[in-house]
């Protein structure tokens, strides 16, 4: 592939439709490969993880953000900077536990489901956008934050909203000494 060195602005824009179609093709192929919804979900999560561990450095290099000092700051960063940068949407954030380690991202708009209204009857447990959960999980792991990320609600399944739940698994204070 002969691509000239140095990035030009024009190279950044590709068709949104192509991206959404590609994602749809990926999910469709996985549905052909795996009978059980759980297997497809796991596969999507694993793929997302592989993307997340690489995407995090792109995010940090490009956004030049400072280190987050709390789980709340981290979640805000994901919603307001990362989601905006990569998907062009800004989910709203809410904290769902007194301990301060469980958060929810409510997605009002989600480009990945542009062309999908609801899941087929035989795929009722499919987490169509599970790739996103893997991406978030992989990215957080590379900045030394272990987390569980799952879809708590999904409009595709008939829920009122689409909600991603992030549960941070270690206390924030432990992080300081593990930096190096």
């Amino acid at each position: 592939m002969s691509r000239p060195p140095g990035r030009k602005q024009e190279n950044h824009k590709i068709s949104r439709e192509l991206f959404v179609l590609t994602y749809g093709a990926l999910v469709a192929q996985l549905c052909k490969d795996y009978e059980k919804d759980e297997d497809v979900n796991t596969c999507l999560d694993r793929m997302g993880y592989g993307i997340g561990v690489r995407l995090i450095d792109d995010f940090l290099a490009r956004s030049a953000v400072k280190k987050c000092r709390s789980y709340s700051e981290t979640t805000d960063m994901i919603a307001q900077v990362a989601f905006k940068m990569y998907l062009g949407v800004t989910p709203s954030v809410s904290c769902s536990s007194a301990a301060g380690n469980e958060f929810s991202l409510i997605l009002d708009k989600n480009p990945l489901v542009d062309f999908v209204e609801e899941l087929p009857a035989e795929r009722s447990s499919l987490c169509y956008c599970n790739l996103l959960c893997g991406v978030i999980r992989g990215a957080l792991e590379m900045v030394h934050l272990a987390a569980e990320v799952t879809f708590l609600q999904d409009r595709l399944k008939g829920d009122a909203v689409t909600e991603i739940g992030i549960t941070f698994l270690r206390k924030a204070e432990d992080r300081k000494h593990k930096r190096n």
Binding site: P5, R54, A61
Partner: protein, 161 residues
Amino acid sequence: VGHAVLAINGAEVNGRLTADGKDVLEFLGNPANYPVSIRFGRHRLSSNEKLMLASMFHSLFAIGSQLSPEVGSSGIEMLETDTFKLHCFQTLTGIKFVVLADPRQAGIDALLRKIYEIYSDFALKNPFYSLEMPIRCELFDQNLKLALEVAEKAGPFGPGS
């Protein structure tokens, strides 16, 4: 300390043998071969030596930030000697970029951040590159070279390395 014979009579030496395959010490010991010109210098580091030195630096970096009387110290950012300056930038993901440059060279901070971008583009986005392995990506090398050339021109003095 650390110097070795690099070339004899203009032809590079290969370990203990000259370019023609003769033993170096034997060749130098035979007066019939004089006059002979010998080039001494430091060997370029092999990949293994680089890995070893890098991991030693990694340990020093960790010790540096723990020794700090202030909490939350960043670790070694710069190491200055009379012949070179070592600049180190650690990302939030724990990757360290190390640049050795002339002490008078300016703009290294910008260079380090540029290298981070180049790494995140041409190494990380290459699906055939495995994390933590040596980077053997053509586009990475090309863009890195370009960035170094730009940085050299910006500084008051020549070579970065």
